[in-house]
Symmetry: C2
Subunit: 312 residues, 2 copies
């Protein structure tokens, strides 16, 4: 109704309003380069929208607060272009914003969307004993891409187009909005987007639900090139797939009787769903490999592009 | 419905949703000290809510993104306390948030509220030829308070309680929410909150409305102590009152036939409304003093606490 330029934006709204806030900060979440200013803008909006995807909500508007250092003054339009590209791709209107001087570049995004009363939103805390735990798409690519950006020599043995797709996965993430809505309609009991890593985000979901998540690490689908990159870096591929994060796939739990319908619903929009384990009684995340329990998986430093010393 | 801790907050909503975003950045908008961490948090929320007041909207939730340098890690709770005090005073729920590491302390606030379809929201662009232009409360205090904080010697001749109220005006601003709603109901044609200064904000309102704002500078009500402080600093009191900003009073235009009812509505909630001029054909802001046209009024450096070389 009223867009940016006035004191506030005004939107007509009915039903459940779903709001997510996310901030990306230079030297904490990204560096320019390897990110271009446009990619930094795009990623800030994509990650905020990913939180709505994980609720099964449909985004409608976003509000952006840009903290702009003087040295990036000439890049403000490029940052706005990056935001606009993601907004257009996701059917979102940038309804308001605020640019302020700051010594550190930051992008604080508020994404607003809606969910129908039925099926409502999918929360983190709805997983039940006996549910399957599954993931959309493939993971590990964003972490592998960051390693490649920070240490290009690691990619010497990779097909150039495979390497490019890994870098793009890091630099230009896309929220899984259609998948999130489809999974909500298909009866997902709990959902979270993979920002910190499959292992860490499964732990968040398990904690919120009061259950244990049992994951067979070899079942977690890995993006093409992740295995080769891991070998070149002297780490395990499952460290990238479960520890890496920033893939923005959806980690979802669903009752076994709904699983095939959910898979079919995703297939109809060109997305995949892969079962990686099950929910049981207890607490935390239990990882197994070749039928045996295995230890924790390291987290990933999402600025430096290396596994961290501690668990994910 | 769903608060912080999940991927997004969920709120049931009907009617017009009014959303405002505002970011406060350390060393750009405030310094600690003189601000305490709690006052920085409180001011960030108060200034975001002030934008809703200026639309005549009633706030319901706020979302806060905190960029927290390591050196302020021990102050995170104090910042949250400051936010909570303003939230409670204004009937607002902090429905979501995000804390991230940052080299610069920043608080990016998204405030969400609602307005009834009738009278709807009051925009900046509705001022009409013949309207009165008026202001709530008194101004100049926030700028005088900042000057006192930066140069305490200027307050040597001030009553201590007067000086304290000037400093508090700067450090603990309060949004004029009840006044905004009352003015919307009373038929305000345009409204803006005084953040940049009466002269600069009148220019924003005039530009959005395609009219000229004629202001008699002596009519602009000045907080007690502003005149003495200006004398001590060797500047004109009207420079603080019209150039100062950050008082977060409401500058409003209203048809003359509605003016007395608006004044009475504000009086009933303990607020004052003072006519300071009128809207006419043309563009921009025309200032007059003792019946004669006067030149532009300097702006105010809201970090250093001094008038700027340029116009407000």
């Amino acid at each position: 109704v009223v867009g940016s330029g006035d004191d506030a934006a005004v939107v007509e709204r009915a039903g459940l309003a779903v709001t997510s806030v996310d901030a990306l900060v230079e030297e904490v979440h990204f560096r320019i380069p390897p990110f271009t200013p446009a990619q930094a803008g795009a990623k800030a909006l994509a990650t905020a929208l990913s939180d709505l995807a994980a609720m099964g909500a449909r985004p409608s508007e976003a509000y952006v607060q840009l903290g702009l250092p003087e040295r990036f003054e000439d890049e403000a339009l490029a940052i706005a272009d990056g935001l606009a590209v993601v907004a257009a791709a996701c059917g979102v209107v940038i309804a308001g914003g605020d640019v302020t001087r700051s010594r550190t570049l930051f992008l604080a995004v508020t994404a607003v969307g809606s969910a129908a009363a039925e099926p409502g939103v999918v929360r983190r805390g709805g997983a039940r004993d006996g549910d399957a735990i599954a993931i959309t798409g493939e993971v590990g690519g964003a972490a592998a891409g960051l390693m490649l950006l920070e240490r290009p020599a690691l990619g010497a043995g990779l097909d150039p187009s495979v390497a490019e797709r890994l870098r793009t996965r890091q630099l230009e993430p896309r929220p899984r909005l259609a998948a999130g809505e489809a999974l909500a309609r298909a009866g997902a009991s709990a959902m979270i987007d993979v920002s910190d890593g499959v292992a860490a985000d499964a732990a968040h979901l398990a904690e919120a639900s009061g259950v244990a998540a049992r994951i067979e690490v070899e079942l977690v689908p890995r993006q093409v090139g992740v295995d080769e990159l891991a070998t070149a870096a002297g780490i395990e591929a499952v460290e990238l797939a479960l520890g890496g994060g920033e893939d923005y796939e959806l980690l979802v739990t669903i009752a076994p009787e709904h699983f095939d319908a959910a898979t079919a619903a995703l297939a109809s929009i060109g997305e995949t769903l892969t079962a990686i384990g099950s929910i049981g009684p207890g607490r935390g995340v239990e990882l197994s490999e070749a039928g045996a329990r295995r230890g924790e998986i390291a987290g990933f430093d999402q600025l430096a592009g290396r596994p961290t010393p501690g668990p994910g």
